[in-house]
Amino acid sequence: MILPFYLFFTVFVIIPIIVNIGLSFTNYNLDQMSFIGVKNYLNLMTDRFFWVSLKNTAIYTFFTLIFTMTLGLLLAIVLNRKLTGLKFFRTSFYLPNVTSMVAVSMVWLWLYEPSHGIVNQALGWFGIGGRQWLFDVNTALGSIIVMSIWKYTGYYMVVFLAGLQGIPGYLYEAVTVDGANGFQKFIHITLPMLTPVTFFLLVTGIINNFNVFEQVNVMTGGGPMNATTTIVHQIYSRAFFDFLMGYAASLSVVLLLIVLVLTTLNFKYSNQGADLDIG
């Protein structure tokens, strides 16, 4: 009964991983293929675009994750109270997460539009000069990060909310009797009890953010001057524009290794792996 699933899974997940590693040692370009050893990896070391994309991906992941997780936690704590309009608030914060990244990118392209976009118009009302957000080397990556924070915060909020609702109420009652204030409750009960959820979000968040591609390809195409190119964007353009399949495969192996290393490090140093039920 697992045969149909395993057939698809083997052909489209397991075999591709192996094929990918194999390809990374070749110079396959859709026409010809020969084994070239670790040459692709040596070329990577001196490939300026690779290092820039690595740096951009790291910056993107760091800032997006810090903000989405912090804001998600804050919102979850606030929206865990009994408020009027609770459902409306939760729905609006989660809404960006339901819409496709392409649609969202289109809308934000329009918001960031230099002469008629709402961002520059709104800044103008306060007497602040506009910018060419996505066409400026200094602001392009930041602009994409801001959009991604807007899109993903609701997701982190929902998972944190689930975590908060799993904390048994008697723990709070116990420390209230001991005279703890709200801040102390947060530090001594909420945060420790949320550690498994936080850890889980951190691991999956790193993996997801490290694969940033759609918004980059739609909004900036990696530009200006490679200021927003990311690892996956490099894989895509090397493989499907330059047809350097072997070289692109070696890039994906690097991506795979980074994701694996980060995940393992997380499991090892947070000592929370045992509590976590990935399924």
Partner: protein, 287 residues
């Protein structure tokens, strides 16, 4: 400040914040109803001066929009139905049947959750390009396009994911053992046990997975971008980029098309919110 007025203050702050979150959607909507002249006017107005409903007609008649929508609907429907059947059967087997190597096989399928699609997109493309006897290929998968630029190529990779298997397995693990024993006494085979007992009880998971899988398939951009060549195989997400070339963007048409693409999912989300949240809460993983 007492509890009640504190809550009221927080409510007001939250209201302002959620309205800020909604601004991009509102801008999308109002822009889709404006004329290009008004969009380019120096002063921004929120409400359109004249309602340009024709933007929607014009947007949908530029290019092959009927076809793009059909493609997206078709791909989503087939991917959701097929992957649900395959995933629930496999989830049942992993949870309730005992067979050799079960735990090892299940452990291997964990890899499906860890390894991102972006890592395997090149080999998956190459495998589909070299499917034997398809798209002009010979017996050895050479010479033609294989399943590149075809519905098979667009749909099949979505079916391979192991996310649904985990969801079903988790769900079925909670069923009492006596259920299987009762089925066995009644002489049901495993397949019939699954069909007549487990499947009818799976409605909540089915609903959750339908919602998550529909959303992720409908919203997918990267895979169609790689696997399609011709205009007639494009999905709605790819077609959105048509309103933009190097020199010019037709903002009003683009926002009208964006609205139409986002709308079906927003309606599904608002009516079936519970299932979106449930899937995320039980697994924390996006479909």
């Amino acid at each position: 400040m007492n509890e009640q007025s504190l809550n009221r203050l927080i409510s007001i702050i939250m209201l302002v914040l959620s309205l800020i979150i909604l601004v991009p959607f509102l801008i999308m909507l109002v822009t889709s109803f404006k004329t290009m002249g008004e969009v380019l006017a120096p002063n921004f107005t929120f409400i359109p001066k004249q309602w340009a409903f024709f933007n929607y007609i014009e947007a949908m008649t530029t290019g092959n929009w009927g076809r793009y929508f059909f493609n997206s609907f078709f791909i989503t429907a087939v991917a959701v139905v097929v992957s649900l059947i395959i995933n629930s059967v496999a989830g049942f087997a992993f949870a309730r049947l005992e067979f050799k190597g079960r735990d090892l096989l299940f452990f291997i399928s964990l890899i499906g959750l860890m390894v991102p699609q972006q890592v395997t997109m090149i080999p998956v493309f190459l495998i589909l390009k070299h499917v034997p006897l398809a798209g002009g290929n010979d017996l050895f998968g050479q010479g033609g396009m294989g399943w590149v630029d075809s519905y098979m190529g667009l749909i099949i990779p979505y079916i391979a994911g192991s996310f649904g298997v985990f969801l079903f397995r988790q769900f079925y693990l909670n069923f009492p053992k006596s259920l299987d024993d009762a089925a066995r006494i009644d002489g049901l085979t495993s397949l019939k046990t699954y069909l007549y007992i487990y499947l009818p009880l799976s409605k909540p998971v089915l609903a959750t997975l339908i919602v998550l899988k529909t959303t992720s398939t409908w919203n997918e951009y990267t895979w169609p971008l790689i696997i399609t060549v011709s205009d007639k195989m494009k999905t709605v997400q790819l077609a959105l980029t048509l309103f933009r070339d190097e020199t010019n963007v037709q903002w009003t048409l683009m926002m009208a098309a964006t609205t139409l693409i986002v709308l079906p999912l927003l309606i599904i989300f608002l009516t079936l919110q519970k299932y979106f949240v449930e899937g995320i809460v039980t697994t924390g993983i996006k479909g």
